[in-house]
Symmetry: C2
Subunit: 281 residues, 2 copies
């Protein structure tokens, strides 16, 4: 693969800035343009070497880019994709990194003007910290990036993005937007809901008695409420189903406790341990 010409990144938070860093360190693009709303984030991204140039003017920032990553919160992605398509070169490829796919893909897939195409993506990477200051060129190394082509997707666009994510170190997995959202409802959106509910129910006078277990279990509850509200609303139906499955598992614990059933309690704890032990970290 020869280096891409100009790549634009709309939204230089943790993921956007990490894509920029990785593109530049691996010399995969001639120039990386960072586009944002706040000069402060753009300055950090530039100082870190995540982008070559920056602008708060989206139209100007994408004017020369044939590949554009939209890395803004899920509630804003579709609108940003439409704005990009108005101002980028004709026939450009636009992608995203949003944690939900179905609502976004349905909003823009096959509906963009000027020959532009959208192909949805989601790198399953990140961490508890946000912002460009925590960006890393190896953030995607060995992590899955899901791409969600549709019947409107051109094979060469899928190949372009698939190759690029592989060069950023990711393991590319192809799924439909629906499959993606079903899976992530259980692996990511439900855990956030659970952590938030557990933190939220804690009476303040007991906060001093928490140990490392509570801290780990509720860590992601510190995430942005606006961002996660939009993720929950985008993936509402799948999240409701995941929550029902979780409530059913809790009911098994509740019943075993009510019956003082040591054997079932142990079996449930063993099931949880077996699944957790299958994962590192």
């Amino acid at each position: 693969m020869k280096p891409l010409e100009n790549v634009a990144i709309v939204g230089v938070g943790l993921i956007g800035a990490s894509i920029g860093l990785a593109l530049r360190e691996r010399k995969l693009a001639k120039r990386v343009v960072g586009i944002g709303r706040r000069q402060s984030s753009l300055r950090v991204a530039r100082q870190m070497g995540a982008v070559d140039t920056t602008t708060i003017n989206l139209a100007r920032g994408v004017a020369d880019s044939s590949l554009i990553f939209v890395c803004t919160p899920v509630g804003q992605i579709a609108e940003h994709v439409r704005q990009v398509a108005e101002h980028c070169p004709e026939g450009s490829l636009i992608t995203d990194v949003g944690s939900t796919k179905q609502v976004i893909v349905e909003s823009v897939d096959g509906k963009l003007p000027r020959g532009c195409r959208f192909l949805g993506g989601h790198p399953i990477a990140g961490g508890e910290r946000s912002g460009p200051a925590y960006a890393r060129a190896d953030l995607f190394e060995g992590r899955i990036t899901v791409l969600t082509p549709t019947k409107n997707t051109r094979a060469e666009d899928f190949d372009t993005l698939s190759d690029l994510w592989a060069r950023l170190g990711a393991v590319v997995v192809r799924m439909s937007p629906e499959e993606h959202d079903q899976a992530l409802a259980i692996t990511s959106h439900l855990p956030h809901l659970v952590a938030s509910a557990l933190a939220g129910m804690m009476p303040e006078h007991l906060l001093r008695f928490v140990g490392t277990g509570f801290l780990d279990t509720t860590r992601i509850a510190a995430g942005s409420p606006e961002l996660w509200r939009d993720i929950f609303l985008h993936n509402r139906t799948n999240l409701q189903e995941a929550l029902r499955l979780f409530q059913a598992k809790l009911a098994q614990f509740a019943q075993a406790l009510a019956k003082n059933d040591a054997q079932t309690i142990q079996a449930l704890l063993e099931e949880g341990k077996r699944h957790r032990d299958a994962l590192a970290g």
Copy 2:
């Protein structure tokens, strides 16, 4: 406080070995005896400098100790306390570090032979790793240790342990066994149940799609099923009540999702974030 004479530690896991290390580094005891069932753990504890001598013979190990820490799993503590009381010097003080207090205290408080007394304790410290190899002399630094005196407790016994835990770096909090178990049901035992349920319901084919959020939220599910089964059974009634409160909070999320109620979803997420942000780590 002059140095204690001989201190015995029954069970040299993470907590027991950390007590030994801290006692020895701070020169708070003349000799620390480590008692365990497995030579391998005892050897690690000895090599780390957590204890001066070790034995697998409980009767011999406690024969010269006027203060004995029982640091075994909660399901075994009461029995070990009784065994210690049979073999230690008359009038010795026995304490523990168990994660539950009511069942243990009721089993032995005021019921020990030979003038021995029991005073329950629980240092809220530790981590995801267990075993003496992870012991640290500063494990209790700035952490709460709860002591649970009863009407049978002598004031000088409370003072002895309170002073000692303060010298180990802990912030000592006095609670009744009932208050302790109510608080810990919410701050520790419920989070374990929740983490285990979340890990347990995860279909194996989706494990590859988990991110750091799921890893954090389920980390404690890797703990010992036997240990946590006994904690759950000891604190069954309080844990049932804590679980009901958690289920009620989940029902608020479920209802807000069913109504597509963005405002309530955001308010719930903000509540969780506010509580979590109040804690460091």
